[in-house]
């Protein structure tokens, strides 16, 4: 017993020593990408389909990552600055998150908060645009939207309808209780930071997964004005468990690794064959032309 305690002690000391900060540091670029229906997202022009059968396009995604950390092989978490990243599909330059002064070495996990946690998410944290444009009214819990995912979809009656999936602090009906809806993401990596500025890590948001597993999100129900709908916030939060993965958006092109993804890809393929053989994805123009036709109706989607 004494011997094993001694060995554990020696091992712990060894680990502490081995995790001492090295004298050298590297820089890291985290490249943000978006995957939807097994392809890299194209905003404003392509029409996609979700698990519930809604046809939609995305105009923009604006969101926060915070408290990004890397886990060293020795088991020590390394945090770094800046602590907050605002990411906006309208701003190409902020699709790359630049991080300086990371100790060189091998890392095995990437961890971050999707959105902002309760420690940080307070009104006044950001006073300048574009971050300040994400503010979440104090009456609804304050702070900032974790994410705005905006677009258009064809509703159950075949009408073109706005889609505004906005995540942030939830609240009860009379706004006397508030619910934190951010979540922490941990992704395994096998990554070495070298003493250069060339270290690149790709992080992809798999947009399909916001709308499935475990909850199938129908935009007719949860596609807009959900800031005051904690049931929608909770469902999307729970769906967020597998929204992020390491890699480029095109890494799994036409071959999403998830079971639902495979089923969905097949379903989508059928829809395309039936409704729009060319191009591979429907263009929004083609959807517009079809508006008023039965293609966008609930009946038709069910038939598909």
């Amino acid at each position: 017993m004494k011997k094993s305690f001694f060995l554990t002690f020696v091992f712990a000391v060894f680990m502490l020593v081995s995790c001492k900060k090295p004298a050298s540091y590297g820089e890291l670029c985290v490249n943000i990408g978006y995957s939807l229906n097994g392809k890299a997202l194209v905003t404003d022009s392509l029409c996609y389909c979700n698990e519930a059968g809604n046809e939609f396009l995305i105009t923009e995604i604006q969101w926060f990552i915070s408290k990004m950390e890397l886990l060293e092989e020795c088991g020590e978490w390394v945090a770094f600055e800046p602590q907050f990243f605002y990411i906006d599909t309208n701003i190409p330059e902020n699709q790359t998150l630049g991080i300086k002064s990371i100790p060189v070495g091998k890392y095995k996990t990437l961890r971050f908060v999707f959105g902002l946690d309760e420690e940080d998410n307070r009104t006044g944290l950001f006073t300048d645009p574009p971050e300040s444009e994400m503010f979440w009214p104090d009456l609804l819990g304050g702070g900032y939207h974790y994410m705005k995912l905006n677009g258009k979809f064809l509703d159950a009656e075949g009408r073109l309808a706005p889609m505004a999936i906005h995540l942030g602090i939830g609240q009860n009906e009379d706004c006397t209780e508030f619910y934190q809806n951010y979540f922490t993401v941990e992704l395994p990596i096998d990554f070495t930071i070298t003493e250069t500025s060339e270290n690149q890590l790709d992080l992809t948001m798999v947009i399909d997964n916001w709308f499935r597993n475990p909850h199938t999100i129908d935009f007719d129900e949860f596609g807009s004005h959900i800031m005051q709908n904690q049931a929608a916030q909770q469902a999307l939060k729970e769906n967020g468990n597998d929204v992020f993965r390491i890699g480029k958006p095109t890494d799994n092109e036409n071959n999403t690794t998830m079971e639902n993804g495979n089923r969905f890809a097949e379903k989508f393929k059928n829809v395309m064959q039936k409704a729009a053989p060319k191009p591979h994805f429907w263009t929004w123009k083609s959807v517009k032309e079809r508006m008023g036709s039965p293609v966008g109706t609930t009946e038709n989607r069910q038939a598909v």
């Binding site: 105009t59 006073t127 300048d128 009408r159 005051q228």
Partner: protein
């Protein structure tokens, strides 16, 4: 040898005196401290080549109100900036100014980073001065005439020297001075500001109106027009708000971006002093706040171009009751800043 020494000494003294002379007469303008309310953005748009000075702002103010800015003597219909930007109307125009779009207010523009005008097509305030002075439907002046005219006056050369270090007037310095004055137009003392600072409470109706303003299930104004977390009361971004479902305006936001999706989109103006900012919308189609509220309540039109944030469009609008509409209006009145409307 002694003579040489004396000559050198005299030359040195003359040189020293000559080199000192300009510095002794050089007027150093006083830096202007732009007010910085705590909840306002920290980043302003003051350009490095046009820092604000007390003298520059004062000169800009004089030019803003001076009909001689037209470069004419008045017999042929002179105009200046204040012809269309009336302080009592939030530095905009209460009627139709005969322009393609209605006049936009000049409020808190020191913190605007998205271009000027309803489509954001003018990059800076300095550029806006040039555009307004030369536009045939605005001041309609010849810049070289303006410069010549002002140069001949008794007062302006000295004011330009104090502000910009030279009695020789240039049009770029005219642009800079007026831009400095416009940047100094800061509204931050409305009742709502005092509420944000904890100095004054809103009435029950005003507070109910603020709740409607800031909630998706209410009037849902905040996404485009800010609130406590975005106290400029605008994002300064561009939206198609569902005014129309057909778009024929060649000067909407799409004229700048070239994007089909920006047809019918215009800048969300600040709601500061909105009660005195009629007429409303880019084309001035509404003359009262009631008409505006009624539009957002039940008159919003759907189109493929409507901004996704206008998601109440599927009901035609936000569907407030008459009491709620009155409460929302009461809140909008708390954005009136009497100090701003009277002190410049």
């Amino acid at each position: 040898m002694k003579l040489n020494k004396n000559i050198t000494l005299v030359c040195g003294l003359v040189l020293a005196l000559a080199s000192c002379k300009p510095e002794q007469n050089h007027y150093v303008p006083t830096p202007y401290e732009l007010p910085q309310p705590a909840y306002f953005p920290s980043k302003n748009n003051i350009p490095a080549d046009n820092p604000m000075t007390e003298e520059g702002v004062a000169l800009g103010r004089k030019l803003f109100y001076d009909a001689r800015l037209s470069g004419r003597d008045g017999s042929d219909g002179i105009r200046n900036c204040s012809s269309c930007h009336h302080q009592g109307n939030n530095f905009d125009f209460s009627g139709s100014a005969g322009l393609h779009h209605s006049v936009m207010p000049l409020v808190n523009l020191a913190w605007n980073h998205t271009g000027l005008g309803w489509n954001g097509g003018v990059a800076t305030l300095e550029d806006m001065v040039l555009a307004a002075v030369t536009s045939p439907v605005e001041i309609n002046a010849d810049t070289s005439q303006v410069v010549k005219y002002l140069q001949k006056t008794n007062d302006y050369p000295e004011l330009f020297e104090k502000a910009f270090g030279s009695r020789d007037i240039t049009f770029i310095n005219i642009q800079r001075a007026i831009a400095q004055f416009v940047r100094s137009l800061v509204s931050s003392d409305s009742k709502f500001d005092r509420y944000l600072r904890g100095e004054e409470q809103l009435t029950e109706d005003e507070m109910a109106g603020y709740e409607l303003f800031c909630t998706e299930e209410g009037a849902d104004c905040f996404h485009c027009h800010g609130g406590g977390g975005l106290a400029l009361m605008t994002t300064n971004l561009f939206y198609n708000n569902g005014l129309d479902d057909e778009f024929n305006d060649p000067e909407d936001r799409s004229a700048i971006t070239g994007s089909h999706w920006d047809r019918g989109a215009y800048k969300a103006p600040t709601l500061r002093n909105i009660a005195v900012s009629a007429p409303y919308m880019h084309d001035g189609r509404f003359t009262t706040l009631d008409e505006v509220i009624d539009f957002y309540n039940e008159g919003v039109k759907n189109s493929e171009n409507i901004n996704p944030l206008m998601h109440h469009v599927m009901d035609g609008g936000v569907q407030l009751t008459d009491i709620e509409k009155a409460q929302l209006k009461a809140f909008l009145y708390t954005l009136t800043d009497e100090t701003f409307l009277n002190n410049h």
